[in-house]
C-alpha cells in the first residue's frame, strides 16, 4: 500500500508541532523518519494513526484521500503502529492482547480464545517470533513484548507498520533481531515507517530517509549518506560526532563499592553483590538495558535506598547508613535519571533550582532566610557558564527545553567541589547540540580529578565517555571492561553473557575488526575486583 501525507500541519496552541509535512511511503519500503527528540516525528505518526486530528493536510492511501477519526479508522485502513511505550495491558496474556479490539467470539459475545491462540501461533511461526499465546505480557522481556506488538498489528492485516523509536528499549542483539524482522516484513510486502534518532540503524535498514527538524521536513537522504551528513541535517548545523577526549590521568582510587546488595521497593533483590571502584580522573560507565539494577545502584550510593549488605566508601568514609543530605555534603554530585521528577522542581525558577541542594548553607542562607541576591548572582553565573537558554533566572524551569533543563541539573551538581560525580542517563531526551556540551562538561570534571560514574543505556554514549565500562545484568556486574570494547561484546554482555563467552561469540559471528578483544585494562584501579569467581 502506498501512503502519502500531504501538507500535514498540527498545532498545539502556539506551538507548531508539524509544519506542512509531505511524506511518501512506497509499498514494501522501509522509510526512516529521522529527527531529534521533540522534532515532531511522533506527533506526525499520531496524526496518521488517528490519535490526533491534523489541522491541515491530507492523508492518501493508494491515491485515495482518507480521514481517520480515531485509531479504529486507521486500523481498518491497514495502518498498524508499535508505540514507543508499548500499548499492552500488563496483566493480559499474549492471546488476549492480540485479540483486544477485534475479538473472535463464539456468539453471544463469548471470547473464542482458541482461535486467538491459533492466530498468534500462526503469525509467530511465520516470522519465527517464538511467542507463547498464554504467556502473561508483564512476565515477558521488552524485546518479546515488542514482538507481541508487531503480531498485534499483523493480526489486523496492517499494510503499513509504524515503528516509533522501536530500538530505544532494546539490547544491541535485540535490535539486530528487530532489523531482521523488519527486512522479513518488507519482503512480505509490508511498508514500514521507522522512526528513530539513531543514525547507525537508519543507515543499516532504511530504503529512504526523511529528516525532520522542528516540525518540518528539512530534507531526504539515501542510506549511503554518511552519519555526519545525516547528523548535520538532523541538527541543522555541523556537529562533531566524536568527542576527542584525552586519555585519563588517574589519581588515587577514592571510591570503592564492595558487595553492595540492594532491594527495591517490592522486595526484589535489584542489586546483587556488586563490587567496583573508581579512581580520581576516571570515568566508569555502567552500561546495561534499562531496569537491570542501575537505578537502584545509584540510589543506594546516594542513600535514598537502604543497602542490604556491602559497603560504599568515598575517600575512606563509609557512606552506607548516612542520609542523602550528608552524603551530598560529603562531596557527591548526583544527576538523577529523570530530571523532571527527581532532578528539578518544575514549578520553581531556574535560580531556585540551581541551589536546591545548597539553599541551607552559605552563601545562600542568611539566618532562617534566603539571600536572594546571592541566589540571583549564582543563577546568572551558571546561566552564562552553561549557556542555558532561558528568559532569565526567574523563569520556571518546567518551561525550558529538555536540553536546557538538563543543563540546569548538571550546572547545579557541578557548581560545588566534588569528590564523586554520578550522572544517570545524562543526555536522555536532550538535543544533539546539548549532548555535545554536556559530554564536554563531564569530561572536564574528570580531567579536574573527580571520579565519575555514568549510567547509560545508550551504547553510543557509553563508548563516547567511558574509560572503563561495567556491564550490569539482572542486578549483577557481568564484567568490567576497557572503554574501547567492541559493541558486539558489550551487547552480548548486556544480555547476560559472561565476558569470556561474549568475546568468543562476538569473534565467531562478527566481521574481523569486531573480533579484536578489548584492550587490556592496566590501570591498577581494579584491585578490589579481581576475586570474582568464574562462570
Amino acid at each position: 500500500m502506498k501512503l502519502e501525507l500531504q501538507g500535514i500541519t498540527k498545532r498545539f496552541g502556539p506551538l507548531v508541532a508539524n509544519d506542512a509535512i509531505d511524506l511518501v511511503v512506497e509499498p514494501g519500503q522501509i522509510h526512516a523518519l529521522l529527527g531529534e527528540n521533540g522534532a515532531g516525528k511522533s506527533t506526525l505518526m499520531n496524526v496518521l494513526f488517528g490519535l490526533y486530528t491534523a489541522d491541515e493536510g491530507t492523508i492518501l492511501l493508494d491515491g485515495q484521500e482518507r480521514t481517520f477519526r480515531g485509531p479504529r479508522d486507521a486500523l481498518a485502513a491497514g495502518i498498524g503502529m508499535v508505540h514507543q511505550h508499548f500499548m499492552l495491558v500488563p496483566v493480559f496474556t499474549v492471546a488476549e492482547s492480540v485479540m483486544l479490539g477485534h475479538e473472535d467470539t463464539r456468539g453471544g459475545g463469548f471470547l473464542d480464545l482458541d482461535t486467538a491462540r491459533r492466530r498468534v501461533r500462526e503469525l509467530s511461526d511465520r516470522f519465527g517470533f517464538g511467542l507463547d499465546p498464554d504467556a502473561v505480557v508483564e512476565d515477558l522481556p521488552v524485546g518479546v513484548q515488542q514482538r507481541v506488538e508487531i503480531v498485534k498489528a499483523l493480526a489486523r492485516e496492517a499494510k503499513v507498520l509504524i515503528l516509533d523509536e522501536p530500538t530505544a528499549v532494546l539490547t544491541p542483539q535485540e535490535t539486530d533481531d528487530l532489523i531482521g524482522i523488519m527486512r522479513q516484513l518488507k519482503d512480505a510486502g509490508t511498508s514500514i515507517v521507522f522512526i528513530t534518532h539513531k543514525l547507525r540503524e537508519v543507515k543499516e535498514v532504511a530504503d529512504t530517509i526523511t529528516v525532520i527538524r522542528r516540525g518540518a521536513v528539512v530534507g531526504s537522504a539515501q542510506p549511503d549518506a554518511s552519519e555526519n551528513q545525516l547528523a548535520e541535517l538532523m541538527v541543522g548545523r555541523e556537529v562533531s560526532l566524536g568527542l576527542d577526549k584525552a586519555p585519563p590521568t588517574l589519581g588515587d582510587v577514592t571510591f570503592v563499592v564492595e558487595g553492595l546488595t540492594v532491594r527495591d521497593s517490592t522486595g526484589h533483590t535489584a542489586v546483587d553483590g556488586v563490587s567496583f571502584s573508581v579512581a580520581q580522573g576516571e570515568i566508569l560507565a555502567v552500561a546495561g538495558v534499562q531496569g537491570n539494577g542501575q537505578t537502584e545502584l545509584t540510589e543506594a550510593i546516594l542513600g535514598v535506598l537502604p543497602a542490604d549488605a556491602g559497603s560504599v566508601t568515598l575517600a575512606g568514609r563509609e557512606l552506607v547508613g548516612m542520609s542523602p543530605h550528608d552524603i551530598l555534603a560529603a562531596g557527591l554530585g548526583f544527576v538523577p535519571e529523570d530530571r523532571k521528577v527527581e532532578g528539578l522542581v518544575l514549578d520553581f525558577t531556574v535560580g531556585e533550582n540551581l541551589v536546591l541542594d545548597r539553599y541551607d548553607t552559605a552563601p545562600f542562607a542568611r539566618g532562617v532566610g534566603l539571600d536572594l541576591k546571592a541566589l540571583r548572582r549564582n543563577a546568572q553565573e551558571r546561566i552564562a557558564e552553561y549557556d542555558i537558554r532561558t528568559q532569565g533566572h526567574g523563569q520556571e524551569v518546567g518551561r525550558l527545553s529538555g536540553g536546557n533543563q538538563q543543563k540546569v541539573v548538571v550546572a547545579r551538581e557541578l557548581s560545588r567541589p566534588l569528590k564523586l560525580f554520578i550522572a544517570s542517563q545524562p543526555t536522555r531526551g536532550v538535543d544533539v547540540g546539548s549532548i555535545e556540551f554536556l559530554h564536554r562538561r563531564i569530561v572536564a570534571e574528570r580531567d579536574a580529578g573527580t571520579p565519575v560514574i555514568i549510567v547509560s543505556t545508550e551504547l553510543d554514549e557509553v563508548a563516547e565517555l567511558a574509560d572503563r565500562i561495567a556491564v550490569m545484568y539482572e542486578g549483577r556486574i557481568v564484567g568490567i571492561v576497557a572503554g574501547d570494547t567492541p559493541r558486539s561484546v558489550l551487547g552480548l554482555m548486556m544480555a547476560g553473557v559472561p565476558l569470556e563467552e561474549a568475546r568468543e561469540q562476538a569473534r565467531e559471528d562478527a566481521e574481523p575488526e569486531d573480533g579484536a578483544p578489548g584492550t587490556p585494562v592496566d590501570t591498577g584501579t581494579t584491585s578490589t575486583s579481581a576475586t570474582g569467581d568464574e562462570q
Binding site: 490519535l51 480515531g70 483486544l100 553483590g273 556486574i477 564484567g479 568490567i480 571492561v481 578483544p517 587490556p520
Partner: protein
C-alpha cells in the same frame, strides 16, 4: 585471551540467597489466636455448662434435634484443632510456600465455632438463623461491592457506593409505597441510584474531576437530598409515601428443604436470588466475554485500549451507570428487603464496608461476595450475641463488624493489585 578480565564481580554466595524470605507471620498469628482460644474459651471456660445450637427451623420437613454440647470440652477440642491447623501452616511456611487461603478459612471457621461454644454456654442459639441473617446482611454489601468493581474494572473509583445504596433504598421505599407493590419498588431502586451514577460519570469521565472527591461529595449529597425529602415530604404523608410492602420470602421448591443449607440459601426473598444471579453473570461477563476483556483493558491501560479502537469514555460511562444501578439494587434491601420504611441515613456506612469487601475480594465478583459474607456474619454475630447477654460488653460487639473489616483489609489482603488505571482520568493524546 590475554586481556585482563577485570572484575566479573559475582556476588558472594551469602548475598545471593536474599531473594525470597520465609515469612512466619501467618503461622504465628494463627498460633497466638489458637492458644488464646484454648485458654480463654476452653480451659478458663465455664465448667459443666451445655451449649445448644439449633440446626433446623420450625417449618422444615426434616427436623433435626438441636445439638447439645458440653461447652468446655467442645471448646477445648475445637481449639486444639485450630492449633493443629496453625502448626500445619508453619510447616507450609517453612517450605517457603504461601499459606493457602483454605487453611486460613478453615481456621477461621473452627475458631469462631470455639468462640460461639463459649459465648453461648448455658444458653441456646440457632445456627440456621445465624447463617440466614448473615447472608441477609451481606446482601447490600455484596451488591455494593459488585457495583464498585464494575466501576473500578473500567478505571473509575466508586466511593459513591454509600450514596447509591441510600438513594436506592429511598427509591424502593417511595415507589414501592406509592404503587403498593414491592417489586415495582425493586425496579425503582437502581433507577434512583442511576442519578448518583450519572453525576459520578459526568464529573469523573467527562470533566476529569478527582474521582475520590466527587465520590465523597456525592455521598454527602445523597444524604442531604434523601434526608431533606424524608423530613419535608415523606414524614408529612408517611402512610402514602413511606409504607411500602416488603418483599415476601419465596422458598425455592425442593432446594429449600435441604437440612441447614436449604433454609439459609433458598428460603429468601427475590433480592437474594438476584444476588446469586448477579455474581455469576458479572463473573462470566468480566472474564469470558468480549465486553469484559474491553472493560478490563480500559481499567488497566486506557491508552492501549484507545489505540486498538476502543472508546474509553463510552466504556467508562456505561460501566459507571451499570455499577451504580447494581449498587442501587442493593439499596432496596434496606427498605423493602427488610424493615420497609425509609429512615434518615439508614445505610449507616455500609457503602464503605462494601468498598472494603470489593478490595478484600480482590476485585472479583466471587471474592466480593465471600468478603461480604464475612462482614455480614460479623454483623449478625454481634446482633445475636447482643441479645444473648454474653460475657462480652455490648459495645465491643458493636465494634465487631468494623474490627473484622480493618483486620481483613489490612491483614488478609496484603499486596493486591487493583485495576492499574483506577482513579486516573483518561485524557486523549
Amino acid at each position: 585471551m590475554t586481556a585482563t578480565d577485570v572484575a566479573p564481580a559475582r556476588p558472594a554466595p551469602s548475598a545471593a540467597v536474599v531473594g525470597r524470605t520465609v515469612s512466619y507471620k501467618v503461622p504465628v498469628a494463627l498460633g497466638v489466636l489458637g492458644l488464646a482460644a484454648l485458654v480463654l474459651f476452653g480451659l478458663l471456660g465455664p465448667a459443666g455448662e451445655t451449649t445448644t445450637f439449633g440446626v433446623s427451623g420450625a417449618s422444615d420437613l426434616v427436623r433435626i434435634d438441636p445439638l447439645e454440647l458440653p461447652s468446655r470440652a467442645t471448646a477445648v477440642v475445637l481449639s486444639v484443632v485450630a492449633l493443629l491447623l496453625a502448626a500445619y501452616s508453619a510447616v507450609v511456611a517453612r517450605a517457603s510456600r504461601e499459606v493457602p487461603v483454605w487453611l486460613v478459612t478453615v481456621f477461621g471457621v473452627v475458631w469462631v465455632l470455639a468462640f460461639l461454644t463459649w459465648a453461648v454456654a448455658g444458653k441456646s442459639t440457632s445456627l440456621v438463623s445465624l447463617l440466614q441473617g448473615s447472608l441477609l446482611l451481606a446482601v447490600p454489601l455484596a451488591f455494593g461491592a459488585l457495583g464498585g468493581l464494575l466501576n473500578e474494572r473500567a478505571g473509575v473509583v466508586n466511593i459513591a457506593i454509600e450514596g447509591q445504596l441510600l438513594t436506592g433504598a429511598f427509591g424502593a421505599a417511595v415507589i414501592g409505597s406509592v404503587t403498593g407493590n414491592a417489586y415495582v419498588g425493586l425496579v425503582a431502586a437502581p433507577v434512583f441510584a442511576l442519578v448518583i451514577g450519572a453525576m459520578l460519570a459526568l464529573f469523573t469521565v467527562k470533566y476529569h474531576v478527582n474521582q475520590i472527591i466527587v465520590g465523597v461529595v456525592l455521598n454527602v449529597f445523597a444524604v442531604g437530598l434523601t434526608s431533606f425529602l424524608y423530613g419535608s415530604v415523606l414524614k408529612e404523608d408517611a402512610a402514602r409515601l413511606n409504607s411500602p410492602p416488603r418483599l415476601e420470602v419465596l422458598p425455592v421448591p425442593g432446594l429449600s428443604q435441604i437440612p441447614v443449607l436449604g433454609p439459609v440459601l433458598f428460603r429468601q426473598t427475590i433480592i437474594v436470588y438476584l444476588l446469586y444471579v448477579a455474581v455469576v453473570v458479572v463473573s462470566v461477563a468480566l472474564f469470558r466475554t468480549r465486553w469484559g476483556l474491553r472493560v478490563r483493558a480500559v481499567g488497566e491501560y486506557p491508552q492501549a485500549a484507545d489505540t486498538v479502537g476502543i472508546d474509553v469514555e463510552r466504556t467508562r460511562w456505561h460501566n459507571v451507570l451499570l455499577g451504580s444501578a447494581v449498587a442501587g439494587l442493593g439499596g432496596a434491601f434496606f427498605t423493602i428487603g427488610s424493615v420497609g420504611a425509609f429512615g434518615e441515613e439508614m445505610t449507616a456506612g455500609k457503602g464503605y464496608i462494601a468498598l472494603a469487601a470489593m478490595i478484600l475480594g480482590r476485585w472479583s465478583p466471587v471474592g466480593a461476595l465471600t468478603a461480604a459474607l464475612l462482614f455480614g456474619f460479623a454483623d449478625k454475630l454481634q446482633q445475636v450475641l447482643g441479645v444473648l447477654q454474653t460475657p462480652i460488653p455490648n459495645q465491643f460487639m458493636l465494634m465487631l463488624p468494623y474490627i473484622v473489616t480493618i483486620f481483613a483489609v489490612a491483614g488478609l489482603v496484603g499486596r493486591v493489585r487493583g485495576p492499574a488505571a483506577a482513579g486516573e482520568p483518561y485524557e486523549k493524546g
